[in-house]
Subunit: 303 residues, 5 copies
């Protein structure tokens, strides 16, 4: 399929990127059921490392097998599959060329109780060797480690882009002045998206913002920003992302009722969000049910 005018328009926003990065962004945006629409749905599976295997896969034990996860992304016609090194390696050969891959290069774990941090476990060369279109990286703005994490991201971004790979930045404020509840407050999420854009993220991943302003200093600035509906809040996050000129996707969060999720995604779409990253809500459901739900989500974005 030829690159659509809408995808070409999106590529045109990334004027700082070389043709390699744009080519990989085009691969992402032209793949799967949403290919060509400018919208996207990604399957991310890093919960095994972050929450442990049983919390992640016991609800649907077939998902213990990395091949299952590849097949799920393929069968649902998703835009990409993102996972840590070991998961991607267990399938990259079998499924070569079937779905765009994103190597999640850093990972947190639930055993440590230190300040929020992640270990950098994958490299740009790993991503190239596995045929990925890009790397994924989490930052925790607010954490005592946030400067190191940001510097690591900056360095990896430089290397990745020089080699034509895109970056997907999970921007999750945590710690520091950010309250637990405030992690998803509108000001914090918008701030998170903006920081990722400023760090050169090709794709920005944030959580759906909730109503409220967490930083006292920001309250005054928000008095005229509409935030009653999720669509309004999404709209503000998009505004904070180079005035709607960055691809921002929103996480699906913990497992929830299918209708509630579809409603949330309808609002994300209405607010101008580009898509969703749906992990637990897909791989923790039995496969046919997961595919059915993903189809509904895709249909929302198809409009």
């Amino acid at each position: 399929m030829n690159v659509t005018p809408r995808v070409k328009e999106i590529l045109s926003w990334y004027e700082g990127e070389n043709p390699g990065v744009k080519t990989n962004l085009a691969r992402l945006l032209m793949h799967g059921k949403l290919g060509g629409t400018g919208k996207l749905v990604i399957l991310p599976v890093d919960q095994g490392y972050e929450h442990g295997p049983a919390r992640s896969f016991a609800p649907n034990p077939a998902a213990y097998d990395p091949h299952y996860l590849y097949q799920l992304a393929i069968d649902a016609g998703l835009s990409a599959y993102a996972a840590p090194l070991g998961s991607l390696e267990q399938g990259a050969d079998t499924f070569a060329g079937e779905v765009p891959l994103i190597l999640k290069v850093n990972s947190a774990n639930s055993l440590s109780d230190s300040v929020p941090d992640q270990a950098v476990l994958g490299s740009v060369d790993d991503a190239l060797r596995l045929g990925c279109i890009g790397i994924g990286f989490t930052i925790y703005p607010g954490s005592d480690n946030c400067f190191t994490m940001q510097e690591d991201l900056a360095e990896l971004t430089r290397e990745a882009k020089a080699k034509g790979l895109m970056t997907v930045v999970w921007s999750y404020p945590r710690g520091g002045k950010v309250s637990k509840k405030g992690e998803t407050a509108l000001d914090i999420v918008a701030y998170a998206a903006h920081m990722a854009a400023l760090m050169g993220a090709t794709i920005i991943k944030v959580k759906p913002p909730e109503k409220g302003v967490d930083l006292k200093d920001a309250e005054k600035s928000y008095k005229d920003i509409k935030q009653d509906t999720l669509a309004e809040r999404i709209s503000h996050v998009m505004q904070a992302s180079f005035n709607n000129k960055r691809v921002v996707v929103f996480s699906g969060g913990g497992a929830k009722d299918a209708d509630a999720l579809v409603e949330e995604i309808t609002q994300i779409n209405a607010g101008g969000g580009f898509g969703s990253i749906v992990g637990r809500n897909s791989f923790q459901r039995e496969k046919s049910e997961a595919v059915a739900l993903l189809n509904r989500i895709v249909d929302v974005y198809k409009g």
Copy 2:
């Protein structure tokens, strides 16, 4: 489109390659009008460097503009476009994601009368920066420079594959014990393909072999090898390419009558060849005529 069983079968032959190389090979084999068939047609334009601009583009002056060449490959639904650094750079942004690119990293010229050689002008990093699926390299087995050219290829191959890029090797015997006429003799072309396979070429490019054996020492070995038809000769070249388990494509050679070219390609296809690289016979024709001819070629390979 999902990777077809035929393309998966072809990927399975490349057991020495990492998933990155296989992914890029899948991108090539899944793209364009022949996508999924296991066959391919590539547009190569290195004649400007090799023969000079007027000899290359005067027959169809629109082709002086690199954008024209990109558009030709796209409009004809070809599998890939291969060209030297400057040509690719002039269009890689405009056409990002529209057609798989191969960076031809070395180039000969028609001004030198030294022993056959080429200058290495592009790099693996250039190919990554431009979003290419692989690099192309010419060797001249037989030339007094052949050892150096082979060593350069070996080094670039190691680097390219480590980064997930495929290699396309133009294997063109020239000089040394090879007579001018013998450059396309069956034994020489089969030998050329075999050497490229042994050097790890992902895609092997040779000329359509003519009847005859050029190396005296090889004559005896050819007494039982059928070579009356081009299809028979192609079949032997394929045998010499890991017993049909490498993708070998054949050049279209100098401009010629369309019917003659289609007939030649019919024979290549009948002999088990995987496709064609059609340069002068496409870009030296006016565009609609070129696309029409390329459509006929594609149809041959579609079978």
Copy 3:
């Protein structure tokens, strides 16, 4: 002996690895009395560095001599011998080619009372120079140092695998949210195995899991996971290891009664575990007694 179908099947699971890594894994799985069965028993001797010499070797002073340890692994027909640099060097020439070697590259010690950590003392080049089939590395998920340890492992893994060496990961949660007793709880051990798999471990080494769930957040996920018998718990750990597609071995722990150890190993085998790493229970016994016990263990895995 030819590589058996079972070993070939195991190799086929490691699709992300190059032939060098697979060759070394085949060397491991084809060696010794269990050669070809897909099961394995490894002799590890890093206790001298970790616990001091007398605590390790006073029960059987012959073991102060590194040659004794090589000879024990050889005489008992074990699959491999794993030890720190100095131990391996004192015997690698004398016993060249007699038993597969694993260089344990990092080591803890009992004098430090800092947060759990290990010093990286050996290198990939050391392993190659000594003729090893792989490197061994300990991580302490949970420790405040866990991020650094994981990053060190990631880097060493990349280097080792590029050179064709396998990795054996001792995954021992310690510190952080993990209680002392919880270090061997089922959820923690399964998590430990899963993390090692995601980091690309060729062989995963964990402790036999005990009943119970240590992380509060994981309790709910375990309500349907059987854990009454050791075999059931082993079975869950294997599930967490890419759905039984990674070679996981279990430590023998502190010196204990021979019958108790054999019973434990019978359960490990019944649960689908691939083998044991038996240190103190072998080298702290007088040699003939140690070999007799190891023979019993081997017999269990022979089935």
Copy 4:
């Protein structure tokens, strides 16, 4: 099988080598039907690159497929299989662990008519990645390029041995003061073996020496050296190889009558040669015939 006393004795001669090199030498000498005897038979297939595919494989077209060559070495129970990069890659995964591999890193071709030379196409890292026990390299003492070839070998040897790989040196005098007929004269072959030993070759490969002295200056020295029988000549070559303390193997040469080959090998064995490298005489015969002949050769060395 435990390393035999004879193999241990052979290892003890290589006092300059680290345990990695000795381990790989032990792997070679303990493998296949001759495993443990100290004798060896290697299947080398570099003729495709050197003579062209038809001259190499037309007599037995099954051999066009690299998998066939692996299987031949395995079925005949040979000690090792040696080939250039592309050939080894096409099978290294499928046959991982089944037969020791030697990566032939440089290759000549029959198209060039320059002074004798070879292109260096493989690397030590390639050998490690493919799970090889060593690298193979050809030198042409006498050629105008001999100094460069020897320096390349010296550099590769340093790197290979530091990584624990052995070296196999094809020492084939050619050009310079060496007459065409003299390439296999006793003095030249003994000189070739000696040079390889002095360059640190783990295994030396030379041609069976013929009667006669090619270098005028050497004639006087040979007046008391017996050379009437091949066994006597082999005995002198062994003497020239650190007084019988290097493993020297002899090539089988062009295809010939089976009885003649077995008789030649009987003489090689009688003279103290360690084994044979049998290429064309094995892969150019139909498989069952080839295996039968290789069995006869193996039986000679078994004594």
Copy 5:
């Protein structure tokens, strides 16, 4: 003088070392009055850096001059002289070839009150440039810095041995779980020697062990280990050093009565220790007295 059978026997224990390291060990063991006996006495002068100049040299102001220290080692016929960079440089030219030199590459100081640590001040290249036979390095097992110190030693060891230099490891437990008094307890000293052996130390330097077990966990293991006399304790330390197969030398400690020192050394010798490192007890005495005392010590080791 030819290398004596005893020294050859000692060299044979170092099977992991290349001939360069063995040659330097032979230089050490064949030099001075104890040359050939397998015993050795080294003059170390790093106290200036560690304790300050006046505490080190005021008792014998001649020792402020580095030349004096060289001359002392030479006049007393000692086996080697060990010192930090500046000391060695001030004399290495004047006394070139007169006494084996060991460059102490790290040094503590008495001004810092941080956790026990040392600064790495010299390099392997410095040692080569100065004609040294090896480098010396201190580790403080137990210290919060112990992991870093061990990693630094591991790296320097790799470099030093690759260049043919031996290593002398001052293994001094300090901090962590080690009590102040326990620093010289039998279990701690044996542990210290064992760790140094496992890190590949050519020569191990520890303090003469005192009666007692410092680590609670080790108490049980010591119930059958004799430790009443210093000779018995030395014997255990030697056992912990690869079962007597490493050269272990003991420090003389602070200045003390000559007879007491000689008696202590008599016990060290009786227990199987290989020698002494005598610093303050030599250079803090007036020269003739120092030489007389050193002669008495040498006589003890001559036996």
